[in-house]
């Protein structure tokens, strides 16, 4: 039976995960979700936001493709908060650049000066709103992509199916999944439907405009009775893309069920599925065009009457309730009486503290705080962006080598600083008469090590050795296993090969086995560690520096 199914290379459902049609649908769904809020913002503000839908689509597309790529097994080590934060920084940067080019124009030097002095002025209402909407679309796309990745055939399901081990039940191979496929689809459908309700209400409110009369009172009114074209398109795209995705999710549920139950699937089922759902939707949409629409029916008026009557009844009930509460609280009215007017006057009187001449002379320039803040923002944002781009492999070549040199320079400065600091501390301690055991480097003290459990001792020794090797120019990338890193160490310091092997084996036992680690093993690892550290100190190593 298994031969009748498509093979799952490397136990992964690659065909399902990399579908372009689904990615586009998710991006359309996520981008169209911002159409109605954008229309409301346009009604309430004078902002030009024609760029928002394409920008949201781009952000959603990036979110989808990054999520799909992070789902690949070879990207396992790149999944993390830093990558996602870098993605957010990229979105916000894109949003701000698009606002400058499409709406407000490039900032003048005067504006830049103001931003330096007052960083808060950089964040305009339009940039905040755009950023939030773009991030919302991106988040929606990421969430939907994750749902659809979870709907794919999982590696443990492939393993359970392909296992022919005697006596093995499938449950032995299956990993417990917190959510079944049905529940994932239910969650997605619920989000889509309730999101649709909110969007419809927002679309209904998109004609709302706010004006201020001469007395300064805000006036709300419907400036237009018809919806804007982009809201119409957004709303339609949202529901149609959602329906198509729902159909796709249904296929995923059935597909998983059929796969796990060894059901043979005729090729026509998969081939015609999307076409059937699309044609069905097209037929329904065509028929719906022929049905009478709301503005022609009297049912709306009747409903308004019913709602108005209900509101009046509710108001009367509320009035009676408040009257009752007032009557009940009337005997306690002395508790609510305000204090004397003098104290209020005293509190509200403004006070002015004039700076002295010395204070005025020593005051820092007003742009300094802004520059520091901007510097920090640039550093953090730049770092996150570099992480994101490096993860995508976009910084290979000149940029990558430059960054690598910068990284080495920084590491050299840091290690030199740490070495100096250690020497200073050691000298201070020697002066104080503290004795240290011979041959033991200052980074790890045996007294502290001795207090630890043998397992913890071994782990600490290994990590310390890794750190030392890093200081000597041989970093351990996250994807290198201890054995692989051990080979790197052997290649760079061949004379330390036996010690590297002893320490690596001891670390793997301590880290990955459940058995008890004897104190003798910890002592053996410590001896190996000491010899290894001595070898690392000797020149001639780091012939090959591994760059991740």
């Amino acid at each position: 039976m298994s031969s009748r199914h498509r093979s799952f290379a490397n136990f992964h459902d690659t065909g399902w995960r990399t579908g372009v049609f689904r990615a586009l649908l998710i991006a359309v769904l996520a981008a169209s979700a911002v159409a109605a809020p954008a229309a409301i913002l346009r009604g309430l503000t004078p902002w030009r936001m024609g760029y928002l839908l394409p920008l949201a689509f781009l952000a959603a597309l990036i979110g989808v493709f990054d999520t799909v790529r992070l789902g690949r097994p070879d990207w396992r080590d790149r999944r993390g908060l830093l990558f996602r934060l870098g993605e957010v920084v990229l979105m916000l940067m894109l949003a701000q650049i698009v606002i400058w080019f499409a709406a407000t124009g490039l900032p003048s030097t005067v504006e830049v000066g103001v931003w330096l002095r007052h960083p808060g002025t950089f964040l305009t209402g339009q940039s905040v709103a755009t950023g939030l909407l773009v991030l919302g679309a991106w988040g929606l796309a990421v969430q939907a992509s994750r749902d659809f990745l979870d709907l794919a055939i999982q590696p443990d399901e492939v393993a359970a199916r392909s296992s022919h081990a005697w006596g093995d039940t499938r449950s032995q191979w299956r990993v417990f999944r917190p959510l079944g496929r049905d529940e994932i689809v239910g969650r997605f459908a619920q989000r889509w439907v309730w999101g649709g309700v909110v969007l419809v209400i927002m679309a209904a409110l998109s004609g709302l405009s706010v004006t201020q009369d001469v007395a300064g009172i805000l006036r709300f009114s419907f400036s237009q009775l018809r919806m804007l074209p982009d809201v119409v398109v957004g709303l339609l795209c949202y529901f149609l893309a959602g329906l198509l995705l729902l159909s796709d999710a249904r296929l995923a549920v059935l597909r998983g069920q059929w796969y796990n139950e060894d059901v043979e699937i005729a090729p026509g089922v998969m081939r015609h599925w999307h076409m059937t759902s699309f044609l069905m939707m097209l037929a329904v949409a065509g028929v719906a065009l022929l049905l009478p629409l709301g503005s022609t029916r009297g049912l709306g008026q009747a409903l308004e009457w019913v709602i108005a009557l209900s509101m009046r009844i509710a108001m009367i009930l509320l009035f009676l309730l408040s009257l009752l509460i007032s009557l009940l609280l009337y005997p306690l009215r002395f508790l609510l009486q305000p204090g004397g007017s003098e104290s209020i006057g005293a509190l509200s009187r403004p006070t002015f503290d004039l700076p002295t001449q010395t204070e005025a002379a020593n005051r820092l320039p007003d742009w300094l705080g802004g520059v520091v803040l901007w510097g920090m923002v640039l550093l953090v944002g730049g770092y996150l962006l570099v992480v994101y781009l490096r993860t995508h492999g976009r910084l290979h070549g000149f940029g990558d080598s430059w960054l690598f040199r910068l990284h080495l320079w920084w590491r050299g400065r840091r290690s030199r600083f740490e070495q100096t600091a250690r020497q200073q501390v050691a000298a201070l301690r020697a002066r104080r008469g503290r004795s240290r055991r011979d041959g033991v480097p200052p980074a790890i003290r045996l007294g502290r090590l001795g207090e630890r459990l043998p397992r913890e001792q071994v782990r600490r020794l290994y990590l310390e050795a890794v750190r030392r090797a890093g200081e000597r120019g041989l970093q351990r990338p996250p994807h290198r296993t201890p054995l692989e890193f051990g080979e790197d160490l052997d290649a760079n310091w061949p004379d330390a090969e036996p010690d590297v092997q002893v320490l690596t084996r001891a670390f793997m036992d301590a880290r990955y086995t459940a058995r008890d680690i004897a104190p003798v093993e910890a002592q053996r690892a410590q001896s190996a560690w000491q010899r290894l550290v001595e070898a690392l100190r000797r020149p001639g190593g780091h012939n090959t520096v591994h760059r991740s």
Binding site: V200, V231, L243, W273, T276, V284, L293
Partner: protein
């Protein structure tokens, strides 16, 4: 998605309040898709026709393809249709049929799986389980193909060239070494008249030609009308050999029936086993000749099962009560204990010709042989196929 109708109602209220055509349109599309999906799934399942075709009688070792035709009688396509059928596990050649297909309007699909008659028996093929639904997950409907057809796998029949069975019935078609049953229609020659020969035995034409009295030499022939008694009382079998020995008893009975029908003899079948079709115990089929009758016997032997039932000694006299004089009673039984031999002896005294065939290996078969000899019952030990071959070759000499 159970809350979808409520949400649609909510959207309708919003649409009525906002009086915006687009919201009405969205509500129509969602509600239409929902309603159409539910209607489609229900209608699709109701308009499916399923037919199953296969050869319903198999000899041991033969195979048949069970072909299932699923017809979509409606004008709507069926996006997915899951059909599964669990055939008898002892007959299935591969894995059970579980398949998902899609059907165009007015189209049909053919599924098939193979059954191999590996084990005699009486099997139900079906039911088939159908399930279908829409493409959005709003509705799913299923059905059962209630039609269950029977498949009979006949027991293994070992062809026998010759079996040493004696008979007391004269005027038959089987040549007999016993001179007491001369057949006047079978003249094999003439000889000189001897004193005492009946006058009507004289061949007058030969007498005239030779010039001395010549008497016709007649061949002895018997009619071997037989009834095979298959003892399927579970208590009579050894616990560890129960299944294998009872199956072998059925194979022996089927082979003997086939042999006797091949010899143009009338054969009957009596058993105290359980007929799975009628749930009857202790049933009998009167002796008849012919191939058609043989198929009937084999069909019953395919259906019969070992069960806790009446012991052979109690049931044999009752079952043999109506048999004509001289009928050979072949009792196929696991052991020849004293009670069984006594019951067979009574049949002999009633004019029948009892034969005891033991189908379980017996360490002290000599005791049974001796007991049978004293009681006038032929006893054979046919515990396996090699014993059956020896019986054919006449090396299993009965003791009568």
């Amino acid at each position: 998605m159970s809350e979808l109708p409520i949400i649609l109602l909510l959207l309708l209220v919003v649409a009525l309040l906002a009086r915006m055509d687009l919201i009405f349109y969205v509500v129509y599309v969602l509600a239409g898709t929902y309603a159409l999906s539910r209607w489609w799934a229900g209608r699709g399942a109701a308009r499916l026709r399923v037919h199953r075709r296969f050869t319903d009688h198999l000899f041991a070792g033969e195979s048949t393809d069970v072909e299932i035709e699923i017809v979509n009688a409606s004008w709507w396509p069926v996006p997915w249709l899951r059909y599964e059928e669990a055939p008898p596990s002892v007959l299935i050649a591969g894995s059970a049929l579980r398949q998902v297909i899609s059907l165009r309007p007015k189209a049909s699909a053919h599924l098939s799986y193979r059954l191999v008659g590996q084990h005699r028996g009486y099997y139900q093929v079906g039911p088939g389980l159908l399930s279908t639904g829409d493409v959005f997950g709003f509705a799913e409907s299923g059905g059962t193909l209630v039609e269950q057809r029977l498949l009979i796998v006949y027991p293994r029949v070992i062809p026998l060239a010759y079996v040493e069975l004696s008979s007391h019935s004269p005027l038959g078609t089987i040549k007999s070494p016993q001179r007491i049953f001369p057949d006047p229609t079978r003249v094999v020659g003439v000889r000189d008249y001897r004193s005492g020969d009946p006058i009507r035995a004289i061949d007058w034409k030969s007498t005239a030609r030779v010039g001395s009295l010549q008497v016709k030499r007649l061949e002895s022939a018997v009619s071997l009308t037989a009834v095979i008694f298959v003892n399927l009382d579970a208590a009579a079998y050894s616990r560890h050999l129960r299944v294998a020995a009872s199956e072998w008893a059925i194979v022996v009975a089927a082979s003997l029936a086939n042999y006797l029908v091949g010899q143009r003899q009338a054969v009957g079948l009596v058993s105290n086993g359980l007929d799975r079709l009628t749930a009857a115990r202790c049933w009998s089929i009167p002796p008849r000749p012919g191939r058609e009758h043989l198929m009937k016997l084999l069909e019953l032997l395919a259906r019969v099962q070992l069960t806790e039932t009446t012991a052979l000694a109690d049931w044999l006299p009752i079952a043999a009560a109506g048999l004509p004089w001289g009928t050979t009673v072949i009792a196929v039984t696991p052991s020849g204990d004293e009670t069984a031999c006594t019951a067979l002896h009574r049949l002999r005294r009633a004019g029948l010709n009892p034969v005891l065939v033991i189908v379980e290996p017996h360490g002290q078969f000599g005791v049974i042989e001796e007991r049978g000899r004293r009681l006038g019952v032929q006893a054979y030990l046919v515990a396996d196929e090699s014993d059956l071959k020896h019986w054919q070759a006449g090396r299993l000499a009965p003791v009568a």
